[in-house]
Each structure stands twice: as structure tokens, then as C-alpha cells.
Symmetry: C2
């Protein structure tokens, strides 16, 4: 574990914005340096210009010139910190301690089918670093050809995974350094589990208080 | 209640990105048309150009030319749907059914001190529309001079509110058409309460299932 852990949180068009945002924010609260990286489909250079026209209240429209934002599953548009390279070069386990693949059907499809992402999933685990997958993001375990092990996902993709893995319906499943989870409603315990694994249980406890979960919340 | 309810969700620099995103996303899941509006400080025209330079993986830096994104409290940058007019014109209860003020200390300060926002808070409630405030966003109840009534907030701003309101520590407090809540950890029940009030309990139940909360989650 490096002194200040670093996390790479992938994002794409169609990413579930709650799963992305809760994870990123909670990791930052945990003292982890989080970086979001936009995975495009089909792979394009970050220098490709994309103009987005948005309504400006009472003043017609303004145009966004590059860089592209991720258009998430329920319409929230998030500007990533950096742009993923199709090769995965520069995003490896030498640079980050944790790789996170959020859900949202379309975003997870983009990420799990990306050869660079698949390579990184294997490299992170081979090097003893951490990988988190949530919701449909767990499909990346299969496309990355990970060995059969305990895993969970959103129920909507269970049928694509339960032949290849020891499928669980627990909210968060820890299998060595691979952490999987189920959906927006399990993202808080997923992210807090990652904080605990990377920084320790004291940090998890420290940051949970100010987040003000109802007293009988089960995490 | 209009046939398809519309929600205006404010956002500003320093907004707590989990509170914003969970609310926006959950409202959309509830069939509500959500629009995010960026409140700037000090008020500037949306035509004011802002260049943001961001790192591009492996390729140096790229520059974002307008419109500005909201730089949220833990570093997530969100591109709003529209830009709030300092006068509040065009954002009234004739156009939207719900006004949401999320927390995050700096963002809530910007919103609660904005005269246009204050006017809208009163207008929405006067017209029988809904207002949601969460975390430090509840400060807007005081700056808008709302009458003494049940209310909650993040504990960090309790001392600014408990002389003026019937302060509660419940996760979600419903006072007529004013709904207040406490922090990131209460945003799911806050947003689901708003869905129930605007669209009905059946819709709340319908959307809760696919979000996959752990079975003993208290909402």
C-alpha cells in the first residue's frame, strides 16, 4: 500500500452516475486520491473535438467545445479528470492502487468490452492491487477472464455471470483483492469497504459519521 | 400536480456531489423531469467565458471552453443543464413543481445567500409546490425567512437553525410541502420521499427494487 493510495475510477457514456459519484466522493473522503478516466466507444483520441449544445436559462443556447463529458444513465453529465487511453498505457497498477468499474448498462458494456480495461483488471489483481466492480460493471470480471471466484452484480446481469463465478447476492462480496457489489443502493457499503481495505477500518469509521446515515443503516 | 412533474435541482461550486447526483438520478427514475441549474457566485451571465484546463491522459492538457461546470465538494465536475438567472426569472413555480437545494458548505452558502433563490423558495411554497433542502442546503430556510416549522439539516449547521425552527434529528422531515434532510447518508430516503410526494407511493416502490438496497435498509 502506498502512503497515499490512488484510485482510478472509470466513467463512460451511460455510467450510473450515483455509483460513480458515491464511489469517487467516498474514496476522496477516505483520503484516497481519486482520478476519473473517460472510456470512449468507439475508442477516439481525446483530441477529437465534440461540441455539446446546452440550454442557457433565458439566454438561448451555449456550446461546449471539448473535452467531452460523460453522459450518464439518468442525464447527469460529468467532466472526467482525464481520458482513458485505449491501450491502457499510463493507467496501470504501477500508477494506481485501485481500479473501479461502475455500472450503468451502456457504460459497463463499453468498459467490459475494452481490451485495455480487461488487461488492466488482470494486471491490478496480478500485482496485488485492488479492483472494484459494481452493478453491471461486474461483467468485466467475465470479459477479463478472471478465474471462478465469489462475485455479485446487479440482478439484471446475473444470468451472464452465474455460470462462470460463485455467484452471491450479498451487498458487497470481497474475493481477495476483487470487490464486487450490486447497484446504486449498495454503493455506500461498496465504497466504504474499499476505503477500509486501502486505508483501514479507523478511516472508514471516521468518514462514516459525517455522512449521517440513519442510525439503523446496516453499514 | 402536473401530469409529468418537473424538478429544478440547483448546483453550484462546492455542492456535495452525492447529494446532487442521488437526488437528480432518483427523481429521473421516478419519472420526474429533472433540470439542473448552476448558481454562480458572484452572479455572472452565462455568456461569461470560463476556460478550464484539464489533464488528458498521456496527451498533455486540453482546455474546456464554456460553459462552466460545477466544481463539487470532493472534486467531481458536473455540467449543469442550464444556468440560473440571478433574478430567478424563468425558474418559478409556474415552470417547475419542485425546487431542490443540495448541501456542500460552499454551494449551500452560495444558494442560500442568493436573493433569487430566496424568492423562489417562498414562491414555490406559497403556490403549493414543493421545496427540498438537504444538509447545509437547509440554511436556505432561514435566509428565505420561512416561518418556524419542523426542519432538519447536517449537524454542522444545526446551531444556525435550531433557534429559528423546530429542529429535528430525523433523517427526513416533512413539513407541509417543505422536505428537509441531513447529509449524503440520508439522500436516498430524501429523494424517495420527494418521488412519493410528487408521483405517489407506487412509483416509489417500483423504483426502489432495481436500486438494490440491502434487505435490511431502513427505507
Amino acid at each position: 500500500m502506498s502512503p497515499t493510495p490512488k484510485a482510478l475510477v472509470l466513467i463512460a457514456d451511460g455510467t450510473e452516475e450515483m455509483e460513480f459519484t458515491i464511489t469517487y466522493d467516498t474514496l476522496v473522503r477516505g483520503g484516497i486520491i481519486a482520478t476519473s478516466a473517460y472510456v470512449s466507444t468507439p475508442p477516439t483520441s481525446p483530441s477529437t473535438s465534440t461540441a455539446t449544445t446546452v440550454a442557457a436559462g433565458g439566454q438561448g443556447q451555449v456550446t461546449l467545445i471539448n473535452p467531452p463529458t460523460a453522459k450518464c444513465s439518468r442525464g447527469v453529465r460529468i467532466l472526467p479528470d482525464i481520458y482513458f487511453e485505449p491501450s491502457g498505457v499510463g493507467f496501470g497498477p504501477d500508477k494506481y492502487d485501485l481500479l473501479v468499474i461502475p455500472g450503468g448498462a451502456k457504460g459497463a458494456e463499453t468498459m467490459s468490452n475494452d481490451a485495455g480495461v480487461q488487461k488492466l483488471v488482470r494486471e491490478y489483481l496480478d500485482k496485488g492491487k485492488y479492483v472494484g466492480m459494481i452493478c453491471a460493471g461486474s461483467l468485466a470480471a467475465k470479459t477479463s477472464n478472471l478465474p471462478n471466484q465469489p462475485l455479485t452484480s446487479h440482478p439484471s446481469v446475473k444470468a451472464e455471470l452465474d455460470q462462470s463465478f460463485a455467484y452471491s447476492e450479498d451487498p458487497v462480496v470481497v474475493s481477495g483483492n476483487l470487490v464486487t457489489s450490486r447497484g446504486p443502493g449498495t454503493t455506500f457499503p461498496f465504497a466504504l469497504t474499499l476505503v477500509e481495505m486501502l486505508v483501514g477500518p479507523e478511516k472508514r469509521k471516521e468518514i462514516t459519521g459525517p455522512m449521517i446515515f440513519p442510525s439503523n443503516t446496516p453499514w
